[in-house]
Symmetry: C3
Subunit: 366 residues, 3 copies
């Protein structure tokens, strides 16, 4: 650090033992198990006085076999700077962020990766056609008004960043607002649980759009626009000697003008990150005097197309617990989950079938 600034370094790791009932052996039906890091990060925080701060975070992923939907050989490695954001703060009402950071859309994506209620965020709650599923590069203006009861955010970011192959080089614009009726949630990032330290009731909604984002027909150069909206509710309430109750739900709709009905659409307009709509419900209960929290989660999504199947539906449900040895700084999580597809079978050479995953995770932050 230079003379005037202060800087600190953190490590954040989530080490998992994953077991899935499919994906291995010659027929792809055998059980698969793997030790791996879900997150393996170094973060750097700096500040020059009260008005300017820096946040930089690296991520390293390596040889992941068991991914949210598929089992692979996982022979890859990626070290990257996940976040690099310059944070200017006039006061609580007006912040200006510049760099690479989480775009302002769904609440769940904005919940800290180290403080979810369930094992993790849903991989389905990511926007289409953005290089990083969860982050983007650009600028954001945000702040809290009305004694922190109201928060607003406005983003202008790259969105799809394929200049030479997409129809036009346009930015993606977004806006998000929330109302917090009990204790405020006044930061840029949310949490999936406050572990009984806050009473929270937050209702939020967001909208995003990018013009001429992809081709429904690459031959005739027929372009489509992207627009999406979401609404979410988060409620957490600690009752003395009884425990803390958490309820969270959201719905989101990601629209690409039905590009998947085009004669020669681009691959990226379909699949997990393509055109879709759906949502989740999460519930939690944390014991009053023991740092043990039980959770369950249910999601339902309609995908425009997935692995050769038009109008696929996914039901994903799971449950488990967090045990907090040192709060979020050292936590053990176990979760059993099932992904249930409406249509199973082999379509266009690709097999779709239900699967069950059991994960044991140790989280450590320094």
């Amino acid at each position: 650090p230079n003379d005037e600034g202060a800087m600190k370094l953190e490590y954040k790791g989530q080490f998992q033992l994953n077991m899935r009932d499919t994906g291995s052996e010659a027929d792809g039906e055998g059980d698969t198990k793997e030790f791996n890091f879900r997150r393996n990060r170094l973060a750097l925080m700096g500040a020059y006085g009260p008005h300017f701060g820096l946040y930089v975070q690296t991520e390293f992923g390596e040889d992941r076999n068991i991914t949210p939907f598929l089992v692979r050989d996982g022979d890859e490695s990626d070290f990257e700077i996940l976040d690099a954001v310059l944070r200017f703060r006039y006061d609580d009402r007006f912040n200006f962020w510049v760099g690479k950071f989480k775009y302002s859309f769904s609440r769940e994506n904005l919940e800290a990766c180290e403080a979810p209620l369930t094992l993790d965020r849903s991989v389905l709650i990511r926007a289409p056609l953005v290089d990083e599923g969860t982050r983007d590069k650009g600028i954001s203006i945000w702040g809290n008004l009305l004694e922190q009861k109201f928060q607003y955010r406005i983003d202008a970011m790259n969105g799809r960043n394929d200049s030479s192959s997409s129809p036009e080089s346009n930015f993606r614009y977004g806006a998000r607002a929330h109302v917090t009726l009990l204790d405020p949630e006044a930061n840029h990032g949310y949490k999936g649980t406050y572990m009984g330290e806050k009473k929270v009731l937050t209702i939020g909604a967001a909208y995003q759009m990018e013009n001429d984002v992809a081709y429904a027909n690459t031959v005739t150069e027929d372009a489509v626009d992207y627009q999406a909206w979401t609404a979410d509710l988060f409620f957490e309430y600690p009752v003395e000697e009884v425990g803390t109750f958490t309820f969270s739900a959201a719905y989101a709709d990601y629209d690409l003008d039905d590009a998947y009905k085009g004669a020669n659409f681009e691959d990226d307009v379909v699949g997990i990150y393509g055109e879709k709509n759906g949502g989740y419900v999460k519930i939690g209960y944390m014991l009053p005097n023991t740092p043990l929290q039980f959770f369950a989660r249910s999601e339902n999504w309609s995908l425009a197309e997935y692995r050769g199947i038009v109008d696929q539906e996914i039901d994903w449900y799971g449950g488990g617990f967090n045990y907090y040895f040192r709060g979020q700084n050292m936590k053990l999580t176990m979760e059993l989950s099932k992904a249930d597809f409406d249509k199973e079978g082999i379509f266009g050479g690709e097999k779709t079938e239900d699967f069950t995953t059991f994960t044991t995770q140790l989280q450590v932050m320094f």
Copy 2:
């Protein structure tokens, strides 16, 4: 750090909004815009007493669409250690550096990335056939003599490091010297401006060579040598209550024995980093009591071949300003520039056309 050493960590970021008048849409003629980091670095400095120091710097580049000459889809990511140098210092007259660092050739390449006069250094002022355009691995001996009026440098470095495909595995040798007539520039790195804190008049020259570096004819195994020379002048003078004036100019000639005239030459002997000669002129004016600096820059280069065109000429000129909120630690720069090719059109399936770029950059160092 170990008990005897001291170490510190720094972050250096240059976040840009780039706009160019070509490169997008189906015909490649549409405007392109992009948020991205030009530099995104973590640096580590250490010292064991006065005679030994360490400098390590990482760089992360990701998904760049708008590059100096071309617009791409930019779907790549590269995290690397850009510098890692062990610095032994007997005294100011004799330094011995070992590791990966900037080779001693052109002044502009040796100017700190965070202290240029204009938006950035020229991408054209890089040597051919060296893995990193700006750094190399090897050793350097350098020092200042005659009350720091004279500086010498001698390098032995990898140069082209393609052992199994180049004609011979030879080192690249280089030498550089300068004379500083007013205040000394006694470090290994120069600056593009001292913002009025120094009176500088420096004249420098350098030479580089590597034998049997590439094939002019890969079939007959006809090898060529590399040699290059450069001369540069830097003048900066603050006048009280009037402001600071900066003038900088250089010429460089990179020769590969006319390898591009060979029947089956290697691709790397031509293009932006191939055989060429040319130079730049930069001027600056900084206001006396406001940290605002205006600059302009003009370059002219003759390339042996560029995108199918033999003997292409590039005129590149631009201008803009730096506003220093906290010196180089927080700086806003805007620059408008134009690249003007002598021959435009489509040659060998590749299109060459003039383009204009407008860049807004925020630099932050911690």
Copy 3:
């Protein structure tokens, strides 16, 4: 670091000038020379009190031409997290490690990379079919008993992590034990020399296995198991005013059920990291009052197949010295070595021939 934890950062670099008598020019017979980093690492250590620690280490390798056995163009770059281990310590008798770290098999692999006796560990003393040759992901339980005279280790780790293409998704299990008759070696990592600070006589042995690890015949889906064993001895004794003497030897056998005799075996079951057996002898002598240490090393390995040759034998021998300017924190090493193949010539289009390497290395740790 958070309020309760402490964290420190270290740099570890080994910069080399490598010279080999083969690998360059059109016929591949010319001398090759290269400056490069053998290791270029940043390490982060943290602790929450006496029972929990963290160790994270990054590695950056780039454009290496001269590798242990072959000379290439080396146009690659890899930044990764080499180690990331969460260390729980009940007491000296019981440690529980979780994450990515060195698996417990051969002593030489467990010797610290920065404290070998000779220039480096052998690349041949690595287990087959594990993503990182030297590290793996999983868990280990280990401790010292009987006043640190006895050490045990038990591992369960990924082993081969190619879920969708290997016969089954099984873990690799390992166990290692040693007896230290003089001063104890009570850590997880060994050293190749204690530079006269300890009297050591350690005898160790280990075993490793993974079921259904690869195909001897990918067509008939004929799977093989992996098992390996090793035994090693390390002796170091300082004699006052005479110097310190070091002797170290090991034998290892890596068995893949003769998969290389299969009709359609997988490539990875042969080669340097495939089925093999062999060992090394190392000797050292360090002067009593000067930090200068001479060493020599001899290895012999039988490989199931190497570059088209069945039952290849390699003799590898070398010698040199370490000069310790600041112990292992700043060390100069020179080593001359020769790899001697039992069968030389061109087999299946690949050339195998003896080669000689001369390496000068500067090691710095901060």
